[in-house]
Amino acid sequence: MSARAFALRAAALLLLVLFVTAPGLFAFAFRPLTVNGAPAIYNQGSLLALTLSHLRIVVLATLASTILAVGLGIFVTRPSGAEFLPLSRSLVNIGQTFPPIAVLAIAVPLVGFGEKPTFIALFLYGLLPIFENTLTGLMDVSPQTLEAAKGMGLNPRQRLMQVELPLALPVILAGIRLSVIISLGTATIGSTVAAKGLGEVIIAGLQSNNVAFVLQGGLVVALLAVLIHDGMGLAERAVARRLGRPVDEVA
């Protein structure tokens, strides 16, 4: 990692931590955006608490998406599950094309307000990238490698755990990263159904016509996204290197 890249990362992290713990420090920057003496800094709750619950729901939803998507990806690439491949592909695609806001609208009457409908929306929305990348990763394992593994007497389970999954891991991780980034942004709409999160800041800004609030909410989400994207990219490359493959920047 170059010194400049490192400095940039450290600066972004520092900015984020300072901003959510002591937002008052930045009042001077937001004051020009306010009118009629409206507050420059979000004052209806702790930014730190909102950030943490925002992250919590994203992490939980992604975890759930990962478990289902990777599990499903493994299942439909086995001989016994191959016939379900087209079906599962369309199902997961529907999860992606269905707008999260519509999911919320449907879920609220069923499970009530709060975190639950948001969790469901993020979970469904996060499935596709992980599922598709799991499929790509598993199907890209060279047939020769698999033939050799089989010929040496690795049973199906050993082939999966010792050969296929390790080789597919960098691609699967890239899918998880994509899903996390999408969820970070999408989670803001959860505030419309009373889930705690950074969407509250944005919505408060919209309701009181306070641009400063909207920007603050956006800024924290954006910083989180950049840092997480970057951090997971580093992890992927480390894994790929450990697998003996100097993988160039995964998309």
């Binding site: 060279s142 020769q144 040496m152 007497g153 690795l154 049973n155 050969v163």
Partner: protein, 312 residues
């Protein structure tokens, strides 16, 4: 020893291997040759049950392979394919350790075996053990592929075009090395190729296949002198025949009493090499010595030609 008895493979209505029977003696190399799509790989893969036979059976040392659980069977049989299928995420040492690990060997035994094999295949352990496959040349990958297949000391080694991806120079060295290692370990080998030269260089016996059928299974010399069918004759190459025969025969066979001038020829060399040397140095005869350098007699162009005609 392996005995293949009336082995048949059908996919739907197509017959891919039809009623093939052959026997490979302990410690010998059997080469399966034939045109593309003849069923060679299928025949080979039925031996370790990567393909389940439609009919017939395979006996290894008298035991029906169907009586052995398939993973266990494969642990006992080395398998090398074209392109080798090395695990890209594992080092050379880890690749070689694959089957011993599955068999639950302890760490020290595995480490010792890896070192022994790397030495055997002329790969300096200190340099190569920790490398990944993508850091190796084609020839080195090939050697690791064979080393990995031999790791758990299988009595039988199956090879499907193991030299197909090598350039001609490295290929011929790899073939020589394989024979040397095979003679040393006494491994029984069944090898598939569609390179006739390779078949003649490696095979104690050669099986010629065409369109799912085994046309002939014989020693190289028999194949040359008594081809069973026109297809075999065509495959072994009529024009090449005398030279192939000469390359199968040692100088011993045309040894004459007497002396000659010039650099001596080893009695263990082939008549083809001897003839080629005689032509090159422009002499009618050269002295013959044994491995210790003791003079045995001489070999002459006329003698080799006479011999070539007599065996043809």
């Amino acid at each position: 020893m392996i005995e293949i008895e009336h082995l048949t493979k059908r996919y739907g209505a197509t017959i891919v291997v039809e009623d093939v029977s052959l026997r490979v003696d302990e410690g010998t190399i059997a080469v399966i040759v034939g045109t593309s799509g003849a069923g060679k790989s299928t025949l080979l893969r039925m031996i370790n049950r990567l393909v389940e036979p439609s009919a017939g059976r395979v006996l290894i040392d008298g035991q029906d392979t169907m009586a052995i659980p398939e993973d266990e069977l494969r642990h006992r049989i080395g398998y090398v394919i074209q392109g080798y299928g090395l695990f890209p995420h594992r080092t050379v040492a880890e690749n070689i350790a694959t089957v011993p690990r599955l068999l639950g060997w302890d760490k020290r035994r595995i480490a010792a075996r890896i070192e022994e094999l790397l030495d055997l295949f002329q790969l300096e352990p200190g340099e190569f053990a920790k490398k990944f496959p993508h850091e190796l040349s084609g020839g080195q990958q090939q050697r690791v592929g064979v080393a990995r297949a031999l790791a758990a000391k299988p009595g039988l080694l199956l090879m499907d075009e193991p030299f197909g991806a090598l350039d001609p120079v490295i290929r011929s060295k790899a073939q020589d090395d394989l024979v040397a290692i095979q003679r040393r370990l006494g491994t029984t080998i069944v090898l598939v190729t569609h390179d006739m030269n390779e078949a003649f260089q490696l095979g104690d016996r050669i099986a010629v296949m065409d369109q799912a059928r085994l046309l002939q299974y014989d020693t190289p010399a028999q194949l040359l002198t008594h081809p069973a069918e026109a297809f075999v004759e065509q495959l072994v190459g009529t024009a090449e025949r005398p030279f192939r025969l000469l390359s199968l025969t040692r100088v011993q066979a045309a040894l004459e009493p007497g002396a000659a001038d010039g650099d001596p020829i080893l009695v263990s060399e082939s008549l083809r090499d001897a003839l080629s040397r005689l032509i090159w140095v422009g002499r009618d005869a050269l002295p013959v010595v044994d491995a210790t350098g003791a003079a045995l007699g001489r070999v002459s162009v006329r003698g080799i030609l006479a011999h070539g005609r007599s065996i043809a």
